[in-house]
Amino acid sequence: MKAPTIRNPFAAQPLPEQPDIEAAALRSDRFRLEREGDWRRLDQIVRRLERGFAFRLSDEDIMDLPVLYRQAASSLAVARETSLDAATLRFLEDLVQRAWYQVYGPRSGLLRWLGGFFRGGWSRAVRAIWLDILLAFAAMAAGVAAGWLLVARNVEWYFALVPGSMADARVPGASRAQLAETLAIADGAGGLSAFAAQLFYNNASVCILAFALGFAFGVPTLLLLIYNMALLGAMAWLYNSVGLLPDFLAWLSVHGTTELTAILLAGAAGVHVGRRMAFPGDASILSATAEAGRRAALVMLGCVFMLIFAAILEAFPRQLAGPEARAIIGAFMAIAWTALFVLVGRERKGASAP
């Protein structure tokens, strides 16, 4: 043990002195001594990367990292065949593994990754699951139709489909005036922002649930979509029965085009995972699931951002703006999202990909 001295714990430690290589009796020891300096340097670089001090590394260190890593990897391969020094072997195994995690780890931090995500990664992922989006859309359309038709045949269905807490004044038999009241412009924005935050929390949870249920071959996801849309269909029937359908649609469209798109994408992501699990093709089930899961996760992350946006729209314009303005905002959002997914992030010839 050295005498205690005050030193900067983050300072680079000086490399230990090299013993005389020629004096070593064993060939494997000479092998080790010749390379030990490089190993220790790699160890230091990797340790600093692990601590998140990448900015403290010199350019030289960063340039040398892959080279040192490959040297250590080949040292390990050689040492396994020529050396019986267990300490060296274990150290090299660990060192190569740690360096491997750094060299082949996530390429960037969360913020930089998010930048690339919005500039095309998200849109590309959405385009990649187009088939599943069609499937999810079919399920949602079927849900709306089912809700409408069921309630049209027997009003009792309405109470089965729409939970009491949500129905409020929106029940069959309510007068036109009462129903119009529920679509009315609110007096002020009081309490609306908190309402929006809660809605967002709720919707985001539902979306993540729709995705996560894809794990069971996608069937629960489709059922969830159908059920939620049946609720919408039932409400649409109710407003139609008093001739308020256009107002209802305008009221809905403000945030609905954003929120329903998010739910559609989340459902599609779930279906994608489930479909790949059921029909993995040439890949093994596990690797097919993993590949689909990663792609779907991208879509999902975008959904969460869409929902934040939808919650803001839900709380303010929906309650404050008139029917025409509502319909315009809704239509604009629908076009904007579609444009984002269809146009952004396409590979351009001659242009370097981001």
Binding site: L84, L95, S205, S287, A290
Partner: protein, 309 residues
């Protein structure tokens, strides 16, 4: 180490091949250490949320009453609080696992990390998408059953608590029903949780005695004396030399002397064992170069040539 725990350890060994073609051994994290890491993470999250709420109280903000006030600033804070809540529960894991150590604070504490599960043979890059996917699945593993529990008290909810517990049990027990201890999120994301490597380079034993050349000259071993042991004994000897006490050294010394038929001296056990270690290693490594390996003292010499273990 008992044989039972040794075979359990062997069960957790996996091999990945780096793009350079070097096979690396990884050790899967135990399910227990993962559970501890998870609990630690939640403790950290709840404590920090509590501290945030407390800090807000200290500057005179009571979240419970804000909503009722109906003022713009109050609402704004409630919104901020909800967003922080959402980010805390979903962003915490993603942020830390995307970092250079691939581990949350809890995982770091118990020395494990997330890594990409090799598809087939070759090791893969751990991607941001994989980390997001594995953490979104937490929603159905942990939070969904919690919502079942929260409705359990309400009238007419019936067996919600039963459904909740069943659901919870299915996902919590999921890692026990596959070889790699994967949870549902790991399956979907193509990841697994392994022990984080961290070992310092110990000094080479065969170099240590260079400082005392007199001791080395004292012992010379012939080929027939070195013939009796194999790699396993060499490694045991290395372990003893590194951290054995004098008693162990004496016992090992006596055993070796008996085995090679020498007369036992005493007082110079360490020097003898170090010389023997160096000589034995020199012999075994020399044989290795000719493709002869000897696993332990019972083994016949394996002449099948170099192979990856």
């Amino acid at each position: 180490m008992s044989t039972a725990s040794k075979s359990l350890d062997a069960k957790r060994q996996r091999q990945i091949v780096t793009p350079e073609g070097v096979p690396l051994g990884v050790t899967l994290a135990t399910r227990g250490s993962r559970l501890i890491a998870l609990i630690l993470d939640y403790v950290i999250m709840f404590v920090s949320l509590f501290l945030i709420a407390l800090a807000l109280l200290l500057v005179g903000i009571n979240l419970g009453q804000l909503d009722a006030l109906g003022t713009g600033a109050g609402e704004f804070l409630v919104v901020v609080f909800f967003i922080v809540l959402f980010l805390a529960f979903n962003g915490y894991f993603i942020f830390f696992e995307m970092g250079p150590r691939g581990a949350t604070l809890g995982k770091r504490a118990v020395g494990i990390r997330v890594a990409a599960r090799p598809q087939g043979q070759s090791g893969e890059r751990l991607t941001a998408e994989a980390i997001i996917a594995r953490n979104l699945l937490r929603q159905i593993e942990i939070f969904l059953p919690l919502t079942f529990f929260s409705t359990a008290g309400e009238a007419g909810s019936g067996p919600a608590w039963l459904v909740g517990s069943l659901w919870f049990a299915v996902f919590m027990l999921f890692p026990f029903f596959n070889r790699d201890a994967l949870r549902a999120g790991d399956v979907v994301a193509g990841t697994w949780v392994v022990e984080a490597p961290r070992r310092k380079l110990a000094d080479a034993l065969s170099l240590r005695q260079e400082s005392e050349p007199a001791a080395e000259a004292a012992y010379r071993f012939g080929p027939e004396e070195l013939e009796v042991y194999g790699e396993y004994e060499l490694q045991s000897l290395e372990r003893v030399l590194r951290d054995g006490d004098d008693e162990t050294l004496a016992a090992v010394h006596a055993a070796i002397v008996r085995k090679i038929g020498w007369q036992a001296g005493s007082g110079d056990e360490r020097a003898f064992l170090e010389s023997f270690y160096t000589a034995l290693r020199a012999k075994l490594e020399g044989d290795m170069r000719f493709g002869k390996r000897k696993a332990d003292k019972h083994a016949e010499v394996d002449r099948s040539g170099p192979s990856l273990r």
